[in-house]
């Protein structure tokens, strides 16, 4: 049972590679849909079965022997968090396949094969309990992601985004591999639990531990697109086809944070207890800078997919902040946030896909007022904006409240301010887009001379553009409903809270992996935050609407004549625009300095 979430998609991919070019399109679609549905079911069953004890599955039957307890094989270490994430991943892949039902009229099964392998790689990353094995799935994710990015490689499309994606992630992966090698050199093991136990026993120097930790997670930080490793993400989104964007933003990026949290808790948390404050401070800096800068970029975009990509960066910053508190309720909040955000973001990307299908563009100014007939889609996009802003009833609001409560218990009240800032800006950006495109408010030209990039995006669909197929809008609607409904039962919320407590208790995994026994301490019942519409929510809502209105009004001539403040703001915006240059060399330079600065922070604060 346990290896199926990886084995089934890989097997179907291999079969499709063999016979797929002979099969009609609908059979391929059906096979892909059934496979991802199957993986959802299996992952849910696994999550359920592991609720009371961690399931450990030894590939090749190489469980540690009774006298040495030393793992020589690779294991899957399945707990409800990992299996639940795998289920969530396959849910989004399922949604992407439904959306692409009337999509990509191309020959061959390449798209389906690549998506299925991508799914398998993400599931493998969620479930794996071995450091090198995680690296392997990480590399497979990169390879499949790059190939999917370039899938729609028509003449009119630039591949620069895919190139930046590939180079940055590969460089990050190599640094991760170096970190794994360093850890292996001293512990003689690759199993996460065994490495964690050994590191804790042998009191290694904290300088060594800090640097090894930074190296091991660097690849995952690049994948998570935190500042200043985030540049590739927006470029990749501008190139990738819509269903691929759904996966990239909805879950792939978040898996980077998940992997970093997993590695921290299992491998390093016991060994580096003296420097836990340093790690906390590091992730506070990483998370808040990512949340703020992502939100600023997001607000400055006119290309809808790119706008959403930057909002993903901002929200990843929020999740990083949740993890950074290093206590169960913070991470539980981040998990709730991840679910809500993934569903809402997937719905919004599908909205972008619908616009592309109907109007042949996703540019805010090109489309101004042209989509009045698509009011229901516009309404759903506005709902998505509310979800992004973390307002009830969306799951993001639970996540946000839980993170804020945890932050105030840890005496970091400023985190709430960062969260509100990110939510107002990202929500307002989407709201502004919707108002301009679906209602026709605001200027038809952009304010600044050196404005946001105006990218021509090719239509991805063929056939009738006069109507929106039910597979498109239906998927969007279901995703939005799910984003509201998932956390309503309080059992889901308290379940996540309980599971996170286990996630942060390495001793349980040690018992399960090395000694094949399960010890389950009683957890205190986690606090769950209420669904009430708080004062803060009201503030966010008002702020968001005001900001969107201001941005719409700002384009008018009168405002421009006023312009001193506006010009100042634009100058700042220009500075940031220059940083996002699209050149891979710049990004690698940022990567280098980012690693150096984060390393310095860790080492100095330890």
């Amino acid at each position: 049972m346990a290896p199926l979430p990886v084995v089934i998609p890989l097997m179907v991919a291999a079969v499709l590679a063999g016979v797929g070019s002979r099969l009609p399109r609908r059979v391929l679609d059906l096979a892909a849909l059934l496979t991802s549905a199957g993986v959802i079911v299996i992952s849910m069953v696994l999550a359920n079965a592991s609720a009371h004890r961690v399931i450990v599955y030894w590939f090749g039957n190489w469980q540690p022997t009774a006298h040495s307890h030393f793992p020589i094989g690779i294991c899957f270490m399945i707990d409800p968090i990992g299996a639940g994430l795998a289920a969530f991943t396959s849910l989004l892949v399922f949604a992407a396949f439904t959306f692409s039902w009337s999509y990509f009229e191309s020959a061959k099964a390449l798209y389906h094969i690549l998506m299925l392998v991508f799914l398998a790689a993400m599931c493998g990353l969620c479930l794996s309990g071995d450091l090198f094995n995680m690296f392997v799935w990480f590399e497979l994710m990169t390879a499949a992601g790059v190939a999917l990015c370039g899938y729609k490689s028509e003449e009119g499309q630039s591949m620069q985004g895919a190139l930046n994606f590939a180079v940055l992630n590969t460089v990050g992966a190599f640094l991760s591999l170096s970190g794994v090698a360093l850890v292996y050199a001293f512990t003689g093991s690759l199993n996460m639990v065994e490495v964690g136990v050994t590191l804790a026993q042998h009191r290694l120097g904290s300088g060594f531990l800090c640097v090894a930790f930074l190296f091991v997670i660097s690849g995952f930080l690049v994948k998570a697109a935190v500042f200043p490793f985030h540049f590739w993400l927006a470029d990749a989104h501008a190139v990738a086809p819509t269903p691929v964007c759904v996966i990239f933003s909805g879950v792939m990026v978040e898996l980077g944070v998940y992997a970093a949290a997993r590695i921290y808790w299992i491998v390093f948390s016991q060994a580096s207890m003296p420097s836990a404050t340093a790690i906390r401070d590091l992730f506070f800096i990483v998370g808040s800078s990512t949340a703020v800068i992502g939100a600023l970029y997001c607000f400055g975009q006119r290309h809808f997919k790119r706008l959403l990509a930057f909002s993903t960066i901002s929200h990843v910053g929020v999740m990083t902040l949740g993890f950074a508190i290093l206590d169960p309720s913070g991470l539980a909040g981040a998990t709730l946030y991840l679910i809500g955000h993934g569903l809402v973001k997937a719905a919004l990307f599908i909205g972008a896909g619908i616009l592309l299908h109907r109007c042949g563009s996703v540019d805010e100014f090109d489309l101004r007022g042209k989509c009045r007939t698509l009011a229901p889609i516009g309404a759903m996009i506005v709902l998505g904006a509310i979800g992004l802003a973390g307002l009830p009833p969306f799951a993001t609001s639970f996540g946000e409240k839980t993170i804020e409560a945890a932050a105030s218990r840890a005496h970091r009240e400023w985190i709430a301010a960062v969260l509100v800032f990110a939510e107002i800006l990202t929500g307002a950006a989407v709201l502004r887009f919707a108002a301009r495109v679906f209602v026709g408010w605001g200027a038809s030209r952009e304010l600044s001379l050196h404005g946001a990039p105006h990218i021509h995006t090719d239509q991805e669909t063929t056939g009738r553009h006069s109507q929106v197929p039910i597979f498109m809008w239906g998927t969007m609607l279901v995703l939005l409903i799910a984003a509201c409904a998932v956390p309503i039962p309080s059992s889901v919320r308290s379940g996540i809270g309980r599971e996170i407590q286990r996630f942060e208790t390495p001793a349980i995994y040690e018992d399960a992996v090395l000694y094949a026994r399960s010890t389950e301490p009683q957890y205190p019942e986690p606090r769950t935050e209420s669904l009430d519409f708080s004062l803060e929510n009201g503030g966010v809502l008002v702020g968001m609407v005001l900001l969107a209105g201001l941005a719409l009004a700002a384009g008018s001539e009168e405002f421009r004549a006023e312009g001193r403040v506006a010009r100042k703001l634009l100058a700042i915006q220009m500075f940031f625009r220059r940083l996002q240059s699209g050149r891979v060399g710049d990004y690698v330079a940022w990567f280098t300095i980012g690693i150096a600065v984060y390393g310095a922070i860790l080492v100095l604060l330890r």
């Binding site: 590939f59 030393f70 020589i72 398998a120 094995n133 490689s153 600065v597």
Partner: protein, 251 residues
Amino acid sequence: MSHAWRVTVFLAGAAGIAVLFALVCRTLPGPLPVRNRYAEAINSRVYAQRNVTDAVSAVNFDYRGFDTIGEEFILFVSVLGSISLLRITSERTEGLLADAAEPSRDVPASDAISLWVLVMIAPKVLFGIYIVTHGQLTPGGGFQGGVILASAALILYVGESFAVFRKVVSWRLVELAEAAGAGGFLLIGMIAWFWGKPFLTNVLPLGKTHELTSGGTMPLISLATGLEVMAGFVLLLFAFLQETLTVRGEE
């Protein structure tokens, strides 16, 4: 950023990383007694437990076989990705390329060259098969042998012409071989399920040491990997040599 700025930022970062490295070296623990555990565990058991002599292949195809599945699929996906990137979908460019395609290669190769090709290919194929099948005994295995076999196909191209290459090596067949290699590995892993054992368990008879059939599933996995790697590299060559293939369809 201008070039100078970029280099400055990079140099600052590189200097920072250098300091980090220096710090690691200063706080580096001496050799821990535990660091040999994994190596010793494998080295001491591989001969007795699996009847094979090459510990590296044993790790690749048995002890850590699951990693190898991931790696094999990285190859699989990269090859498919390259094909998908190099295919042409615009008719205008396709026409242009068709006009310009292979102008110098239409001259048939002389008999001497054909003979040379045959002379070169046969040992190469043999060598490749040898490497693939002796993976568990001597250095080598599916990965290395697969690349050698793929390079035999390349000689065909160098010595003869792309037309001959296309005639002898069928695109469809190579594609099937790649899928079979990738799926075959998974199937071998599933054999264990019939014995109620976890995925990838080596359940087949282990044979006698130093014989080709020793190692249970290892030689089979080596074969599957060899097939996959060979087909993958031939497909890559195909894709780079002529990219109109997928558009023109099969033969």
